[in-house]
Amino acid sequence: MSTAPTVTPAKLWEQNATPKHRIQWCPGCGDFGVLAALKMAFVKMELLPHEVLMFGGIGCSGQIRNYLNGNGFHGTHGGPLAYALGAAMAKPDLTVMALAGDGDTLAIGMENFIHACRRDPNVTMIIMNNGVYGLTKGQDSPTTGLGKVMEAHTEEHPPYVDPVRLAIASGASFAAQSFAGDPKHCAEIYVEAIKHKGFALVNDFSPCVTYNKFNTYEWCKEHVEHIPSSHNPADKQAAWALLDEYDRKGRLPLGVIYQAPRHKIEHARLPIWDEEFADVDHAPMFQPFM
C-alpha cells in the first residue's frame, strides 16, 4: 500500500477530521478509547482512509466518524447497519464499519441488528455500549441495568439486553467484547473483527462519565475479565458455556467469544461507471414478452 511519503500512518488518520479540540465528547468519555483503538487497528491493518466507509449512528458515539479520517455517512436513528448492508453489497472492496451506540443499535435499530446477523454482510459493527442515552441526557437504554441485581422488573424498566447473546442466537458469525478503558486490547479485537469475512460484532463497554454513575470505569475494571487462551471461539457450544460461566461469576468476558466463518459467496463490485453499461444487451429482457 502506498501512502503519501510526508505523512506517518498514524497522522494519516488525523486528516480530514474534526480537530481534536472540537471533539464534542465529555472529558473522559469511553468513546475516546474506542477512537484511539480504531485508529490503531486501521494503522495495524495498513488500511488507507479512502478505503474505509464508516456509518455512524445517532447519539454521541456516532460522531466518531468525524473524528478520524475516512469516508463517513450519518443518516437516521437505527439505520447504520442497513446503510452499511447496501454499501457492503455494492462495493465489496470497501472496509465498511457501523459505529453506533446501544440505543441506536438495540432499541430503534433492533430490526436491522438481528437481520444483519442473519444476512452476514461484510460489515464490522462496534457498539459503544454505555447503558444510557447520553445525548438526550440520561434516559434508560436497552442495556441499562448491566450488573444490577434485578429481583423484580417492570414494563418501564426491563432488564439488560445482551447484544452478544442476541447476535449469536441470530446467526452472527463473529461476536466479541472489548472495554474502552483498554484501547490496546480493543484494537486487537477490532483487527480480528475487520479481518473477519462476514458480519462482525464488537460490543465495547464505553463508560458514559456524565449520565451512567453505575457502570463506571472502576466498575468495568472490576468486572471485566479476559477470555482464557484455551477458549475455542469456533465452538458454538463453548461460546454459550463461556457466557453462562461468566454470568455465574458476575464477570464480563473480553475477547473473541464466537467466530465461525460461514462459507460466504463472494460478489463482484456492482457496475458504476458509464463504460460498464456500454454493452448491456436488452434482448434477454424483451424476449419473454414476445
Binding site: 470497501l94 430490526e111 457496475p271
Partner: protein, 637 residues
C-alpha cells in the same frame, strides 16, 4: 367499448372488450387471458388490459380480467361494458355460496353489451339467462369442467376447453397455428401427449359451440377477430415490467423492496434479471431496511432504487430526508393503491401525490414524476435515474395499480428507440480528485456538488443528515445553515431551468375546457376527449408527468388559456387540483373517483357535462354500484 354498429346485426371485427371472470386462484382467469393475449399480439392485434380486478386474498374471491382487443392501439379501456363475457365458475364461489356457478354472470351480466356474448361453465347446471337473452345476448353453456374431468380425465385442461370455445366464437386461429405454437412452447418439454391433450380439449370446446350455434341457427356470434399482417414484433408487458426493464437499462444495479401489492412484481423481476446484469436485488426485512440499504448502495456509487406502495412509502418517509439532506440519489417507485391505511390493497387510486410532494419534516429537495401509461413507465424510469444522479435527491416515480398490472402490447422498437445510454452525472473519477481539499458539499451556482465514489483516493467525504458545512461536518452556525439550505434548494431551481418538462398538451387550449390529469387516468381522459369531440364539444387534454418542483412558469400561462380548468383524478380531495391552485393561484373544477374502479370514459364525459352545465365545482363519480354483491365480501389485507 363503443356501441357503434352494435345495434344492427352486423359482425364487429377486431373491436371488442372480452371479460373473463371466475374464482381467484382456482379457476385460472389469467391463464386464459395470458394465452389469448399472447396469441392476439402475435396475430398483429392490439390489446389493452388495465382493469384487472382481484382481491387481497390468495384464494376464493371473485377475479376478473377485461381485455380490449382492436385493430389499432386502443385509446382506453372505455366503459364498463364487455362485449364477450366468460364465466369460469363451475360451481359455488366459496365467497358467495348462494350463487352456484353464476357469480360472474350476476356481477357482470348486466353490464354486458346488448347483442353481446356470454360463455359460461355449465358443469353444475344451466343458469337462467332469459333476461340477457331478451337483450339479444347469445348464451353458450359449456360444461368445460365436466368435459375435462370425465372425457379427458384431466381437470387442469378445463381452461383449454374454454379457450377452444372462445377461439371458435371469435372465428380466430381456427387452424390452431398460433395456439399450437403456444402449446409447443409451453408444454413440449413435458411431452408430446400434453400438447395433444390440450389440442383435443380445445377441439371439444369448439364442438360444443358449433352444436349450440347449429341448434339456434346462428352463423356468427356478431364478433370476430382477424389476424393482421405482423409488421413489427411486439412485447406484451404490464407497467411494472416496463418500469423494471427501463430501470435496468437506465443503469439501476441495486434494488431493495419489501413485498407489497401491487409493487411486488417489480421486486420479482429485479430478483430474476438484475443478477444477469451484474446487479443485486434484495428483499428487505421491512420497508425501512429496503430504502436504507438502497441509500447505502447509492453512497457506494451505484444507481439504486426502492419500490413500494402507499403503506410502505409511509414507512419510508424518514429516509426521504436522509436522501435529500445527505444528497444521496435514490429512486423511489410508488405503485399507488387505494388508501388511507391498508385501504383497498388491490384497487387503484391516485392518492399519494401529496405524500410524494410534501412527505417528511423540513423542506426536502425532491423531484416527483408520474407515469400515465405503460409506455411512460418505461421512459420515465430513464429520466428518474438520470435526475436522481444529477440532482442527488430522492426522485419519486409514481405509478398506480392500474398501470402496475395493466398490460398492453408495444412494438419492440418502442423499447429500443427509447433506450438511452447510461451517463453518470457529477460522479468524480480518480483523475478529477488529484490534489487536496475535496469538499463533498462544495458551494456551487447550480447547487450541485460533485460526488466521489468511496474508495477513490482524494475523494474522502463526510456525509450527514445533520446540517453541515461544505466539508460535511455538523454545524448549527446560522450563516452556514442558511447557505447550505439554499444550496440544496438551488438544485430545484436548476432543475426547473434545465430538466423539467411541461405537461403534455392534446389539442388547442384556447377558449375550450381543459381536461387536466396525471397518472393512469390519461387514457380515460383522452378517450373522453375523442367522444366529446364526436358529440361536438371541443376540449384540450393536459397531462402532467413532471409534478414537482412544480413548473409554474410553464403551467400557469397554459392553464389560463382555457375556458374552464377541470382536473380529473382518482382520489378524494383532488391532490393535483390542490397543487395547481396552490402554485398557480387558479381556481379548479374537479372530477373525482375513489370507489376502487378506474375512470371509465363515460365518468369523464358525464362529469364534464355536469360541471359545464350547472356551475358545480366538484363531481364525485362512481356512485352506481358496479357489481351486485362484491362490496359486502370480506377481504384480507
Amino acid at each position: 367499448m363503443s356501441l357503434k354498429g352494435k345495434g344492427r346485426r352486423t359482425v364487429v371485427v377486431n373491436n371488442m372488450k372480452l371479460l373473463v371472470g371466475g374464482v381467484q386462484l382456482r379457476d385460472g382467469v389469467t391463464t386464459i387471458t395470458d394465452i389469448l393475449g399472447k396469441m392476439f399480439v402475435r396475430a398483429g392485434l392490439h390489446i389493452l388490459a388495465m382493469e384487472k380486478g382481484y382481491a387481497s386474498t390468495i384464494y376464493g374471491a371473485h377475479q376478473y380480467d377485461p381485455v380490449v382487443v382492436s385493430d389499432t392501439p386502443p385509446l382506453s379501456w372505455g366503459d364498463d361494458h364487455p362485449d364477450i363475457l366468460v364465466s369460469l365458475e363451475f360451481d359455488t364461489n366459496p365467497d358467495v355460496p348462494v350463487q352456484p356457478n353464476r357469480d360472474t354472470i350476476l356481477r357482470h351480466g348486466k353490464n354486458l353489451t346488448d347483442n353481446g356474448v356470454l360463455l359460461y361453465d355449465s358443469t353444475t347446471s344451466t343458469v337462467d339467462t332469459s333476461d340477457l337473452e331478451a337483450r339479444g345476448i347469445k348464451v353458450f353453456p359449456l360444461p368445460a369442467r365436466q368435459i375435462a374431468l370425465r372425457e379427458l380425465k384431466r381437470e387442469v385442461v378445463k381452461n383449454t376447453v374454454v379457450t377452444g370455445a372462445l377461439l371458435r366464437l371469435l372465428e380466430f386461429d381456427m387452424d390452431y397455428q398460433l395456439f399450437g405454437q403456444y402449446l409447443e412452447e409451453r408444454f413440449s418439454k413435458r411431452g408430446r401427449e400434453i400438447v395433444d391433450l390440450n389440442l383435443e380439449a380445445a377441439r371439444r370446446g369448439r364442438a360444443v359451440i358449433e352444436e349450440v350455434m347449429k341448434v339456434h341457427g346462428w352463423t356468427t356470434v356478431g364478433y370476430r377477430l382477424e389476424g393482421r399482417k405482423v409488421e413489427r414484433p411486439a412485447l406484451l408487458v404490464n407497467g411494472n415490467e416496463a418500469m423494471s426493464m427501463g430501470a435496468i437499462l437506465a443503469g439501476c444495479r441495486y434494488y431493495a423492496a419489501y413485498p407489497i401489492t401491487p409493487a411486488s412484481s417489480i421486486l420479482e423481476y429485479m430478483e430474476a434479471y438484475l443478477p444477469k446484469y451484474g446487479g443485486r436485488a434484495i428483499q428487505g426485512q421491512n420497508e425501512r431496511e429496503s430504502i436504507r440499504a438502497a441509500i447505502g448502495a447509492s453512497v457506494a456509487g451505484v444507481r439504486a432504487a426502492v419500490g413500494s406502495s402507499g403503506p410502505g412509502i409511509s414507512l419510508k418517509v424518514e429516509e426521504f430526508g436522509t436522501s435529500g439532506m445527505t444528497e444521496t440519489p435514490v429512486v423511489i417507485i410508488n405503485t399507488q393503491r387505494a388508501g388511507p391505511s391498508t385501504g383497498m390493497p388491490t384497487k387503484s387510486e391516485q392518492g399519494d401525490l401529496t405524500l410524494a410532494v410534501v412527505g417528511g419534516h423540513g423542506d426536502i429537495p425532491r423531484i416527483v414524476l408520474a407515469a400515465g401509461t405503460v409506455e411512460e413507465c418505461y421512459t420515465l424510469a430513464f429520466e428518474a435515474f438520470d435526475l436522481a444522479d444529477k440532482y442527488q435527491c430522492p426522485v419519486f416515480l409514481l405509478s398506480d395499480l392500474a398501470l402496475a398490472d395493466g398490460r398492453k402490447n408495444l412494438p419492440e422498437e418502442f423499447f429500443t428507440q427509447n433506450r438511452r445510454p447510461v451517463v453518470r452525472h457529477g460522479l468524480l473519477r480518480e483523475a478529477d480528485l488529484r490534489g487536496d481539499g475535496y469538499r463533498r458539499y462544495a458551494m456551487t451556482e447550480s447547487g450541485i456538488s460533485p460526488r466521489s465514489v468511496p474508495g477513490t483516493p482524494g475523494g474522502i467525504f463526510k456525509m450527514t443528515g445533520s446540517e453541515h458545512d461544505e466539508a460535511g461536518l455538523v454545524t448549527t452556525d446560522p450563516p452556514k445553515r442558511k447557505a447550505m439550505y439554499e444550496k440544496r434548494q438551488r438544485k430545484m431551481q436548476t432543475y426547473l431551468k434545465e430538466d423539467v418538462k411541461p405537461p403534455q398538451v392534446f389539442g388547442t387550449p384556447d377558449g375550450v375546457p381543459l381536461l387536466v390529469g396525471w397518472g393512469s387516468t390519461k387514457l380515460a381522459i383522452l378517450d373522453a376527449q375523442a367522444r366529446l369531440r364526436a358529440e361536438g364539444l371541443e376540449t384540450c387534454a393536459i397531462h402532467f408527468t413532471h409534478l414537482w418542483p412544480f413548473p409554474v412558469h410553464l403551467v400557469r400561462p397554459l392553464l389560463q388559456r382555457g375556458s374552464a380548468l377541470i382536473v380529473i383524478e382518482g382520489n378524494y380531495n383532488g391532490q393535483l387540483a390542490d397543487l395547481i391552485q396552490q402554485e398557480c393561484l387558479l381556481e379548479t373544477k374537479r372530477i373525482l373517483k375513489y370507489n376502487g374502479r378506474p375512470f371509465y370514459t363515460s365518468d369523464v364525459t358525464g362529469g364534464v357535462r355536469q360541471l359545464l352545465a350547472n356551475g358545480t365545482r366538484v363531481v364525485r363519480v362512481g356512485e352506481r354500484a358496479p357489481e351486485v354483491m362484491l362490496e359486502t365480501v370480506p377481504e384480507g389485507d
